[in-house]
């Protein structure tokens, strides 16, 4: 019996009991659907974060106080025992590391900003003028923090779009006095609208000179220093320069960490890769359950068709013909289920971002290929036992079966 013939026989058997075949396939459909859907959500998250991190600005280096592992990763701000990073550290890097184009000091905290009787809790970033350039965040009206502001500890504030809308509405905020914690500040600029990035609303933030920020938060240290190199290939040498300068300034101790964008990306990729694999694995379990459904129904089918098996054997079917017939039937069920699952999975993956904008998805070819391969493999694996059972039937007993 050739393959086309076997396939035709299997197809007829499947079509002869549509409801049962459909329900059996449903198990595989849901399994494949789950695999593709969850993997595309995981991949979507990865692609999204990669894009956002790259959008921070190119060739960015983040210097944070405290020494953590060299492989990168996120960690809490400095503990008390390590020497803090200071504004002077940032100036030294900028002045002496010639491969570094900018070194931007950052202090960060939260506080309440008030204008007349309206107030809002917001994030406060103390920084220097280069921040605009390094982070690709620009002022829309007025001006950003200037070097003169930094030098004079000026009480000036540049507000994000959300803060402007909340406190001032349609009113022009430039030159207006606001209270930041308990200090009086003057609004000098409004940032361009940027939106949400990595779950953080960049518009819900205010900028002040780094020196004023240190006074506001009562600290002489920095939260971090952002440095940038003009050319990506200089990154390693720039890191070496920064290290040399800072180690010299920190009593010959490397009590700081330099993270590159590449390292951050790598860390995120690792985390999300694991996440995707876990999601895919969980979905894979439902595929296995679908396979058990196939095995179950194939066993029923073999039993129901015992007499047919006997007849076929009596007129010359070999064991392997019977085996092939039931194997192809199981595989056709699972492959057809897999195909439908793929179509639904891809379809839903493409529709999700339309309706749920916070959930980006990315359909990857490998997940489609993998899901299809596994659905067929499930058919083979769970089809073997029933098919063998069918093939090894004793023809006489099979013929007597009622």
């Amino acid at each position: 019996m050739n393959f086309g013939e076997t396939f035709r026989v299997a197809f007829e058997a499947i079509l002869s009991n549509k409801v049962r075949s459909g329900l059996t396939m449903l198990g595989v459909i849901i399994g494949v659907l789950a695999v593709i859907l969850l993997v595309s959500i995981g991949e979507g998250a990865r692609v999204y974060i990669e894009r956002e991190l790259t959008g921070l600005g190119t060739n960015l280096l983040v210097i944070t106080p405290g020494k953590t592992s060299t492989s990168g990763g996120f960690h809490p701000p400095s503990a008390g025992t390590v020497r803090k990073l200071t504004y002077d550290d940032a100036l030294a890097i900028k002045r002496r590391a010639w491969l570094v184009s900018d070194a931007v000091p950052i202090v960060f905290g939260t506080g309440r900003i008030k204008y007349q009787n309206r107030g809002r809790d917001t994030s406060i970033i103390g920084t220097s003028p280069e921040f605009e350039r390094v982070r690709n965040l620009f002022v829309e009206v007025g001006s950003f923090v200037t070097q003169a502001d930094v030098d004079s500890h000026a009480r000036v504030v540049v507000i994000g779009r959300t803060v402007k809308d909340e406190l001032f509405g349609a009113e022009n905020p430039l030159g207006k006095p606001v209270m930041l914690s308990d200090a009086r500040y003057r609004v000098v600029g409004v940032m361009r609208k940027k939106g949400v990035s990595l779950g953080w609303n960049i518009d819900d933030v205010v900028f002040i000179p780094v020196t004023s920020g240190q006074e506001l938060f009562d600290t002489d240290g920095l939260f971090e220093i952002l440095a940038s190199t003009p050319r990506a290939e200089d990154t390693d040498r720039a890191i070496a320069q920064i290290k040399e300068i800072l180690i010299k300034r920190h009593a010959h101790k490397e009590d700081f960490t330099i993270l590159t964008q590449a390292a951050m990306l790598e860390t995120m990729n690792t985390i999300l890769g694991v996440l995707t694999a876990v999601l895919g694995g969980i979905a894979g379990i439902s595929l296995v359950v679908g396979g058990i459904g196939i095995m179950n129904i194939m066993l029923v089918s073999v039993r129901e068709r015992t007499r047919e098996i006997g007849i076929r054997k009596a007129i010359g079917a070999r064991n392997k013909d019977i085996m092939a017939q039931f194997m192809v039937e199981a595989m056709t069920l699972s492959a057809a289920g897999g195909m439908i699952g793929i179509i639904l999975g891809v379809g839903i993956s493409l529709l999700i971002p339309v309706f749920v904008t916070v959930l980006p998805t990315s359909v990857s070819l490998w997940s489609i290929a993998l899901a299809f391969f596994f659905s067929v493999a499930v058919g083979v694996f769970f089809g073997v036992y029933p098919a063998r059972k069918a093939a090894l039937q004793d023809p006489i007993q099979a013929l007597r079966y009622e």
């Binding site: 013939e5 002869s16 009596a314 010359g316 079917a317």
Partner: protein, 224 residues
């Protein structure tokens, strides 16, 4: 063409061995028409299953056209059933989902005949058994006699030299039974070797040779 020498077939029932065939020796020559008779449980069906290569004897030698069947593997037995033996059963044993034509084509499927040639070979056989106008009917749409004729067509389609019929008229009314029997005897007259298992003295009376089984042994073997 068939030589059985001291064939036994035993089944285990609990701790006891029951012999369904207890030392049967038999020679069947080409073109013979044989009725196999005997009460229920005498081993008629087991004998037919052994000769039909559906069952392997426990001991003894079974030669089919100069080949020892006992040493064949399952695939070779399947080939023998496919090419050399035509079966007709009491309960027809047609596949209910298939049309008469598809049922008749089935042995050709397993002998590797391409799909387009099967129809050309199956239709004349169906016409020969008088069902040329019923090829697309399913078994459930045919009378008992017609179903048995489909079964005979299926048994003939591969042109086997021997036809084994196990109570072929047992489920039929007397008129269709006679038609079927006439058809089988006509096949024998054209040279086919035929063995019929039957309870019916009337059927046996039309066969030249009658073998009677009793308790797994041949009790009588006469030519009339």
């Amino acid at each position: 063409m068939i030589y059985l020498t001291d064939i036994t077939k035993t089944y285990r029932m609990g701790s006891m061995d029951i012999c369904a065939l207890c030392g049967v020796s038999l020679t069947v020559g080409p073109g013979e028409l044989i009725a196999v008779m005997g009460p229920s449980g005498s081993g008629k069906s087991t004998l037919m299953n052994v000769i039909g290569c559906l069952d392997r004897p426990t001991s003894g030698s079974f030669r089919f056209e100069d080949r020892e069947v006992g040493s064949m593997n399952d695939d070779e037995l399947a080939h023998l059933r496919n090419a050399k033996i035509g079966f007709v059963f009491q309960s027809f044993n047609l596949l209910p989902r298939f049309s008469a034509l598809k049922n008749v084509e089935l042995p050709l499927v397993y002998s590797g005949v391409p799909a387009r040639d099967r129809r050309q070979r199956a239709i004349p056989v169906l016409e020969r058994v008088g069902l040329g106008d019923r090829v697309d009917h399913r078994p459930s749409e045919l009378s008992g006699g017609q179903q048995q004729r489909v079964a005979i067509a299926r048994a003939l389609v591969n042109g086997p030299p021997i036809l084994l019929a196990d109570e072929p008229t047992g489920n039929l009314d007397s008129r269709s039974g006679k038609e079927i029997l006439d058809m089988i005897i006509e096949l024998n007259e054209r040279g086919m070797t035929v063995m019929i298992v039957t309870h019916d003295q009337g059927v046996a009376a039309r066969c030249r040779r009658v073998i009677t089984l009793m308790d797994g042994r041949i009790e009588g073997d006469r030519v009339q």
